[in-house]
């Protein structure tokens, strides 16, 4: 199994606060990896470190390394534009731009220089198809994305991320704001997508992690406590803290 993303002794500080404490983690290619843990444990922080979204927060200090395909993410020579083309991100609240559905999906490719209308049309259709959204919206591609339902909006955000052909997709609690049906549709989608992409998902929903993740990492207070195959983590966790968390014995 290939390592797609590697974290080596990663520390992150928000000013005085030591948010990530020496994270060592290998995330495998074409697998779904779930990051679980109580609120404030650092899982979202870690996720955002992978595509350097933490750069935009003041007073952030990072030591240690993250490698993607063996290239160091925090090196001086890294172009964050290319990095974020390679690593897409989907957020907790669906956040389509206040533009048409077409423009939303085409936004990414346009950023990276695609101007030809035919090319954009193909990309938009393909991305929306991948998210099983095309059939639902093909008659209103020019209408505002804000008119879609929550579940559709989130699938649109995934399509938007796919439009730039990333290798990796990061999702930060993508279904926590959605109804159960939309949630299941998106889980289905992620299971299909992992054939082509490496997926890392932060989730609070234990059942979701056990349904879709191949590997799960448990974070607590900035440390990574346990990492392994999901079936092991959820049936025979090695660390008592993991067991206590997943069985709901503490927040």
């Amino acid at each position: 199994m290939e390592n797609k993303i590697e974290a080596r002794d990663l520390h992150l500080y928000y000013g005085e606060k030591h948010a990530l404490k020496g994270i060592n983690l290998d995330i495998y290619k074409n697998k779904v990896t779930a990051l679980i843990g109580p609120s404030g444990c650092g899982k979202s922080t870690f996720l955002k470190s992978i595509n350097r979204m933490n750069d935009y927060i003041d007073n952030v200090k990072i030591t240690g390394q993250i490698y993607i395909d063996e290239e160091e993410v925090y090196s001086e020579r890294v172009d964050t534009t290319i990095l974020r083309k390679k690593v897409g991100m989907v957020f907790q609240q669906p956040n389509p731009f206040p533009m048409s559905i077409y423009d939303n999906v085409a936004y990414g490719p346009r950023v990276h220089g695609v101007k030809d209308k035919k090319q954009l049309d193909t990309i938009v259709k393909k991305s929306l198809d991948s998210c099983v959204l095309y059939e639902e919206v093909k008659d209103r591609l020019t209408s505002s994305a804000l008119g879609l339902s929550g579940g559709q909006q989130q699938r649109l955000c995934i399509a938007r991320a796919l439009a730039v052909s990333p290798d990796i997709i990061l999702l930060d609690e993508p279904t926590s704001a959605l109804d159960p049906i939309s949630t299941l549709k998106i889980e289905e989608l992620l299971l299909q997508l992992k054939e082509e992409y490496t997926i890392v998902i932060v989730t609070h929903n234990m059942q979701q992690a056990s349904r879709i993740a191949d590997y799960t990492a448990f974070f607590l207070s900035g440390e990574m406590i346990e990492y392994g195959q999901t079936k092991d983590i959820f049936s025979l966790p090695k660390d008592k803290r993991t067991e206590d968390y997943i069985t709901g014995r503490f927040g």
Binding site: M206, F234, L236, P237, I246, T247, R249, F250
Partner: protein, 219 residues
């Protein structure tokens, strides 16, 4: 404490399991007494009490299904609840075996042959020890104890062979002993079956702790 309702319900489940175990062991003990004293009234009582044991099986099953539905248990909680489902089946069978033994006792006509079959009381003793041991191992996750109980099954099998031979002798010596002899063999067989079920309970005890049965990973 988080999930306190769940904890309370788990505790209730364990309590109910222990109650059922108590009833089952009581049935075995009463069988031994009824045999010894040829107390037909007591034997009838044992048969009636089996209804209670069957009801408890259903009640505990219902509890387990409700917990699975409402609480989506995982890890050790899931193993606890799923093995509870399995164990009550074995306990109920043990109860049935005791009731069947009691039914036979009611047909015995104050025969003295019992005094000649020394080893049936031994089998009863081992059966009771195995059941108690199995449940203790289950409750306390004591795999060493579980192993010991499984070993006792060999003892049980040996006793059965001895009893069979003893009874054969008695039948050969006097053809009028055939009927009662056959009954006692059946009784011995039931005790042996009780031992088998106790062994099953030990397997579930192993699963509850390790997620594997006989080295086969199930969960």
């Amino acid at each position: 404490m988080v999930r306190s309702r769940f904890e309370i319900e788990l505790k209730a489940l364990r309590t109910e399991l222990n109650k059922m175990t108590y009833l089952v062991i009581e049935a075995i003990e009463e069988c031994v007494v009824a045999l010894k004293t040829q107390n037909i009234e007591l034997a009838k009582q044992i048969v009636e009490n089996d209804i209670k044991i069957n009801q408890m099986e259903r009640a505990i099953e219902a509890r387990c299904y409700s917990l699975i539905l409402k609480q989506q248990p995982i890890a050790s909680d899931l193993r606890m609840i799923s093995t509870a489902l399995k164990v009550v089946t074995d306990l109920e069978r043990i109860g049935d075996q005791s009731a069947d033994i009691a039914k036979i006792i009611t047909t015995l006509q104050g025969d003295s042959m019992y005094r000649m079959i020394e080893h049936i009381p031994d089998m009863a003793r081992v059966a009771k020890k195995m059941v108690k041991g199995a449940i203790d191992a289950f409750n306390t996750n004591d795999l060493v104890l579980a192993n010991q109980v499984v070993m006792m099954d060999d003892e049980m099998d040996e006793y059965f062979i001895i009893v069979k031979e003893e009874i054969s002798e008695h039948i050969k010596s006097d053809i009028h002993n055939t009927d009662i002899g056959i009954n006692f063999i059946i009784i011995a067989k039931y005790f042996e079956r009780i031992g088998d079920h106790a062994t099953n309970i030990c397997e579930w005890a192993e699963f509850k702790t390790t997620g594997s049965v006989n080295e086969h990973r199930l969960l």
